[in-house]
Amino acid sequence: MPDKLLAIEQKNPEGGWRDAKVEFRKGTMCYAAAPKNIAYLGGTNPREWQPFDADWKLPPNWKRIILDGMKERLQKYRSFRLFMEICVRCGACADKCHFYIGSGDPKNMPVLRAELMRSVYRRYFTLTGRLFGSLVGSRELTEDVIKEWFYYFYQCTECRRCSVFCPYGIDTAEITMMGRELLDLIGCNINWVMEPAANCFRTGNHLGVQPHAFQDSLQFAADEASEITGLPIEVPINRKGAEILFVMPSADYFGTPHYYTLLGYLMLFHEIGLDYTVSAFASEGGNFGLFSSHELTKRLNAKIYEEAKRLGVKWILGGECGHMWRVFHQYMDTMNGPADFLEPPVSPITGTRFDNARSTCAVHICEFTADLIHHGKLRLDPSRNDRWNVTYHDSCNPSRAMGLLEEPRHILKSVCRNFHEMPENTIREQTFCCGSGAGLGTDENLEMRLRGGFPRANAVKYVREKHGVNLLACICAIDKATLPTLMEYWVPGVEVAGVHELLGNALVMTGEKERTTDLRGEDLRGEPLTKEEAAHE
């Protein structure tokens, strides 16, 4: 426990917001992208600089670049033009943002985050803005405004919670995405986005894992799964002619607790005898391009279909990941389709046709597994998860950009016996972000992450105190990477796990040896925790 928890204040803001000066303070911002990463991706203005420098070394014609970039995007995206023009500032979104709630900074109210750009839009693209200036809320585009954009557009996790509440569906994620694209044009981006993106472009995954290391990691996981179960579990890599290409976020084979989820996948695939392969080229489902620009999203996503085609698979199965599914669900087919070389997915075990995925030919692992469980194809012993008292965190993208709400719950309720929902306003489509999405999950930004994650942690604390919850399940790699820190800080005693880790625990496999440990290598306990035990753990 830290000595002192962050004091969160929601003071009533006074005065105006038009002064663009931002104070860059370590802990509440991300560092600038290293020039080598920008250069590798062929981006603009690679240079050494940091946000707290006075001189950002912008290109001499930066203003022209930004305004031309805005003009181009206003013509290419109805969402952008519409969202610049129709907001009536009713304030319904004001207290919906986790960053506003956790920081009390009024410019983190979604409406103001958007106004930072709208004020410039009005000044340069509307008649009234040119004529009446500040009376209609228009502002000059200055270098301070650029710095302010950088600060606040990299203080938004594109979680879309505000857009659920907006009467016109104005989506701050769209505005933040445009803001980041524009900043990209003058070389202002963060390393935590650009380095994974550059890695991904080169090696196929964010972590820069090369094919031999990829094979090592997966082989290691397969060995460990074999050891736990006593079964010869294998993992096929780059195998042509497999029925299914399985794509997961790279953290699954390189991070903890993601790794236990990977063990869960491998055990499941072995048990049902799935004809699948993973790929060392399409070794990343995640896509940090999404946090930079639509163009980079498309560039990084292209390998998925390319590899599916090369390997000659019938369809794609996708692992537990949040923004990967935003891309797979809402962008992939449009950007890099049509996937006419694939077939509409059919579960080889149950025969279920995934009609909802017949064009993209990509099925979410939770859809796949929920279908298996529903058809009674898996033998499950939920008592093996009795040491866990579970709640479920809906990851932003699968819930608000897809609607994957019941499938993971169906799995969880089948594989564990103690499950409690967090309060209604904090789950499903109203779920609170972990505070670290959209490329902000770096330690240099820790204070802001803890502030942004406060609403989520607060809801976990509620079920911890009420029901003795000690495990937060989720289906997002960024969640798994960042929620443990969040829990440790705000709600000590709560661990984080993927849904398929719990499935792996409960899965009774044909011919397996008697399990003495769970996937974490910890003792399986026969008895569920009592409330008191959980509270004292």
Partner: protein, 337 residues
């Protein structure tokens, strides 16, 4: 004070209308030229703005899904909040436009002793709904001034609206509701510290204009009654482009008319355009059938990618060492740059 300039503008407009009507030229200006010009600006401006949105491409299908998707047959989908069919999206939009469904979700997040408490807060929804619906009823009632004979539906609506029979002339429910709603919405902008902070002068301008219109309208009906027959004669003349201006029109009426004209002319330049924009919002009016039907981006530009062949060429030694299959020894060299 952000509300000062808009207040001044409205007061100046009111004063101008009240005074200019005393001069014949002023009367003609207020009663004929201004309404026609304002109506023309409204029509052209509104259509221009809406068509500009409608013609802008929607490169990606990005609905905000607010409920369970349609996936497996045994999981009940939220067909309204996460529509998988056009009919579902239509119903979602209908609820959005007619009942402000998203606004209804509103809640209040406040800190108490370092704990976050989420409370219900439907006042904004109620105020907004009350305002918009009573405005619609009032607009429809005004048709009796422009149509002869008055359609049955308009008479019936007026009768229903005045059914409480309070006072003479009967007080319309919509009049009371719209005044109450506008006063609430205005007070909210002044009193709610967050909303006050994020408001712009133009937000007050729209509210003051509407308050001015409603107040002058109520004065005409309940306090300084006018000769309705004469007004109707005048309105009918305007409607058929044969304006006949009486020798005098009451100042309250001229104020009302000028404010309405001002609102109409201002409309296309303002966020009041949300009236048209709400129908076009891609996070609401699109169907969440992303994986079952391909959405086409009209400007799907080609991008520079890193192909498998280039990747294999770069890592071929490592692939070989790991005994992973290789497509070709030199494929990457040929396609690479």
């Amino acid at each position: 004070m952000k509300a000062f300039a808009p207040l001044l503008a409205i007061l100046a407009t009111v004063a101008f209308a009240a005074l200019a009507g005393h001069v014949h030229a002023g009367l003609i200006l207020l009663a004929v030229f201004v309404p026609y010009a304002a109506f023309a600006v409204f029509l052209v401006g509104f259509c221009y703005r809406v068509t500009r949105w409608a013609w802008a491409p929607v490169p990606f299908r990005i609905p905000t899904t607010c409920g369970q998707q349609k996936s497996l047959p045994w999981i009940k989908p939220a067909s309204l909040d996460n529509p998988s069919t056009g009919w579902g999206a239509f119903r979602r939009m209908a609820l959005e436009v007619l009942l402000f469904r998203s606004l209804f979700r509103n809640n209040r997040a406040r800190l108490h002793d370092q704990r976050l408490v989420l409370g219900e807060d439907q006042y904004l929804w109620l105020g907004a709904l009350a305002f918009h619906w009573s405005l619609l009823v009032i607009l429809l009632r005004h048709l009796r001034l422009f149509l002869q004979p008055v359609p049955f539906i308009v008479t019936a609506l007026s009768r229903l609206d005045g059914a409480f029979q309070v006072g003479v002339p009967a007080v319309y429910v919509s009049d009371v509701v719209i005044l109450g709603a506008l006063v609430y919405l205005t007070a909210r902008r002044f009193c709610n510290p967050l909303v006050r902070y994020l408001s712009l002068p133009i937000d007050y301008l729209a509210l003051f204009l509407l308050l001015g219109i409603v107040t002058s309208g109520l004065l005409i009906r309940y306090v300084f009654p006018v000769d309705v027959a004469a007004i109707k004669q005048f309105a009918l003349g305007l409607a058929v482009f044969h304006p006949v201006v009486p020798s005098a029109l009451p100042p309250t009426f001229l104020v009302h008319l000028l404010l309405v004209s001002a609102l109409a002319a201002y409309f296309p330049f303002s966020t009041l355009m949300h009236t048209g924009g709400v129908f076009l919002s891609p996070t609401r009016n699109l169907t969440n059938n992303n994986r079952s039907r391909r959405h086409i981006n009209p400007w799907n530009h080609p991008v520079k990618t890193h192909s498998y062949a280039q990747w294999e060429y770069e890592f071929r030694d490592k692939l070989k060492a790991a005994k992973l299959p290789i497509e070709s020894e030199d494929a990457g060299q040929i396609t690479g740059d």
